[in-house]
């Protein structure tokens, strides 16, 4: 019987199954950051337990770390305590690798896992962070978990869960120039809604997906959770193998060959059955911009802010009206007439080298518009930052009036000093436009790096295709 990729990954990791289908699933890689781990380590300590396999752990501090003045350390005492607690926990319990604050390889956990080769095809990957779905780009079963589950994985090397259903999102054809993986991700969410993928593992397939780089696939899988799916998946191919080759924790020599021949099997079989199939045409996808306070509240750059009065469902109508009040937008406003105050290029969705290159290409030789108060570029990791600097991208951004920062989550969730002030409107390459996400009262519009760059230059949302 033909199997889906998800079926294969699931079947190869089940250790034990209860009669109702609840299974103990073995975990190969456990990524850890400072916000969701302290209570888990504390639980372990209180029960006098040790990690089952500490060499499955790769840890970093990313959410709370500042993006300026690293020489001064972390000034916020509570953030500092959280980061120091992680330092101490890793010292006490051990890890395969730890990239602490100020390490040259530190960065957003979902950027550094793949970058270090700590995320490998066929693995089960967990992290106390919903965007763990990112790693599914490597044909991994990668899922975000809660803190109790972090403790459970630490103690047992397993996760307790039931199998999800299979959804295939198939994107045929080729993307237009100026349209990226982020636009696919947003278009998919616009189509199926933020709960459309609940209970499913989403596999992305089709020519347009095959044509994406690993960075693009990561962007896509990153936002599977925004469609409600705990994990997103892309089958393994040459692109996957090429990306992994030579990375610090990737296998070498004979083991490499052995691994690659296994990885080649990590695709859905011809004729495998999916519980649901969603089809999109790549060439019909326009650059996307969100207008509301949920990623499903999205339209294309040529669109307008929708009118709640036209929504028949009362709960949805009220939700739209509330979103527009919060966002300070009137129905019917063309997206390309909305002026912005800030620009944020960063986050685990779009802070990899390819994202920075795409944004820099738009910015090169131009200036950030006068009405834009702040334009930030926050690389996803120390290594991304270094590479970008070697390529001169930092100079392109700085010359245009962008600030070039140290790596971390930064204004994606504003746990550090980078945030929106009440009422400020931001073109952001992150993944969540919830109320207050980037700072209390802040107004977030999700876009691709190219579109964020275009907005910075024009001072309002603009069709990047006109700037290429």
């Amino acid at each position: 019987m033909p199997h889906t990729l998800y079926d294969k990954l699931w079947a190869s990791h089940v250790v034990h199954e209860e009669p109702d289908g609840t299974a103990l699933v073995y975990i190969d890689r456990h990524l850890v950051h400072e916000v969701t781990s302290p209570q888990a380590f504390e639980g372990l300590r209180m029960a006098a337990r040790r990690p089952w396999r500490e060499r499955s752990i790769v840890a970093t501090a990313d959410h709370n770390t500042p993006t300026t003045h690293w020489d001064r350390g972390i000034e916020d005492p509570i953030s500092r305590q959280q980061v120091e607690t992680l330092d101490a926990n890793i010292r006490e319990f051990g890890a395969l690798a730890y990239f602490p604050f100020r390490d040259g390889r530190q960065g957003i956990v979902h950027v550094i896992g793949p970058e270090q080769g700590a995320t490998l095809p066929g693995m089960t990957v967990v992290c106390g962070d919903s965007h763990t779905s990112t790693h599914g780009a490597f044909a991994c079963l990668a899922q975000g978990i809660g803190t109790s589950e972090v403790e459970h994985v630490l103690a047992t090397q397993c996760l307790l869960q039931k199998k999800s259903r299979n959804m295939l999102v198939e994107v045929a054809g080729a993307l237009q120039e100026g349209v990226s993986a982020k636009d696919i991700a947003l278009a998919v969410i616009g189509r199926i809604g933020t709960a459309g993928g609940t209970g499913y593992a989403i596999e992305y397939g089709g020519e347009a997906i095959r044509a994406l780089s690993m960075e693009g696939r990561m962007t896509l899988c990153n936002m599977a959770i925004e469609a409600g799916a705990r994990c997103g998946l892309v089958g393994a191919d040459e692109v996957t193998v090429d990306y992994v080759r030579g990375r610090p924790f990737a296998p070498r020599g004979e083991m490499w060959e052995q691994a690659v021949s296994y990885w080649k099997t990590l695709n859905s079989d011809e004729g495998a059955a999916f519980d649901q199939v969603v089809r999109l045409d790549a060439c019909a996808i326009e650059p996307q911009v969100t207008w509301g306070t949920s990623p499903e509240m999205v339209t294309s750059i040529g669109g307008v802010v929708p009118d709640p009065a036209r929504e028949p469902d009362p709960v949805r109508r009220e939700g739209m009206a509330r979103a527009l009040r919060y966002m300070g937008l009137a129905p019917g406003t063309p997206m390309c007439e909305i002026p912005i105050d800030k620009v944020f290029i960063g986050s685990c969705t779009n802070s990899r080298i390819e994202d920075l290159r795409a944004a820099a290409m738009v910015v090169e030789g131009r200036r950030v518009a006068d009405n834009v108060r702040q334009a930030l570029v926050v690389p996803g990791s120390g290594l991304v930052k270094r590479q970008a600097e070697e390529e001169g991208l930092d100079q392109v951004f700085r010359a245009a009036g962008f600030e070039w920062r140290e790596p971390g989550c930064s204004m994606c969730l504003a746990m550090n000093a980078d945030r929106l002030e009440p009422g400020e409107r931001c073109a952001s390459t992150s993944n969540r436009n919830f109320e207050g996400r980037q700072g209390a009262g802040g107004r977030t519009h999700l876009v691709s790096p190219q579109m964020a760059a275009a907005a910075a230059i024009v001072g309002r949302f603009a069709d990047v295709r006109a700037l290429l």
Binding site: P251, M255, R432
Partner: protein
């Protein structure tokens, strides 16, 4: 873990869909390294809503709409709900990670059909002191007028909640199986253990 069997509690309404975990407990409260003390910051910016009104003080059941708990995986969300005094959340649907996290903290998320949820919102609005009886062993929610609504729950989760069983302890009963699985994996895919 605290067991959950039968709860007869006051109901507080939160009439919104897609309530995300950023709204349940905003990030400025995530810096704690403890599990408790989040209650006072539950729904931080939303206390002006029904849920914060005096008539709902002491509520143990939260009534909501669809896709409750979407967004971030932060377990601080169920911790805050629990710390505030909620024991059960009744809604049309829940986001996956949040749903899971509830069970780890003795909170019961109950999924009911949309029509039943609509009716409950209407009743809460017109009935001061509106209470519900959530009966986990029998998998039913009972309204004060005697109307009974059945709900589904995984057998394993139900068992764990009713007896307050600790997941880790339960899983470690299979330690031998985990070890055997690991050994086989080490032999077949040695690069994972390098």
């Amino acid at each position: 873990m605290r067991p959950f069997t039968i709860l007869d509690g006051l109901v507080a309404p939160l009439d919104r869909a897609n309530v995300d975990t950023d709204a349940i407990i905003p990030k400025q409260f995530l810096k704690s390294i403890k599990r408790s003390g989040f209650g006072p910051n539950l729904f931080d910016e939303w206390r002006y809503l029904d849920v914060g009104q005096p008539r709902y003080q002491g509520a143990q059941i939260l009534l909501t709409r669809s896709n409750f708990g979407c967004g971030s995986s932060r377990e601080h969300a169920p911790w805050a709900l629990d710390d505030f005094g909620f024991r059960a959340i009744v809604g049309e649907s829940f986001a996956d990670i949040f749903f899971n996290n509830c069970f780890k903290n003795g909170l019961l998320p109950v999924v009911l059909p949309a029509a039943e949820i609509d009716a409950l919102f209407a009743l809460v609005e017109v009935t001061p002191g509106f209470r519900l009886r959530v009966d986990l062993p029998n998998q039913v929610v009972v309204r004060p007028d005697g109307h009974v609504i059945a709900f589904d729950i995984d057998a394993f989760r139900k068992e764990c909640l009713i007896h307050g069983l600790d997941d880790i302890g339960l899983s470690l009963r299979h330690a031998d199986k985990i070890r055997a699985f690991e050994e086989r994996r080490r032999a077949e895919q040695p690069w994972l253990f390098a």
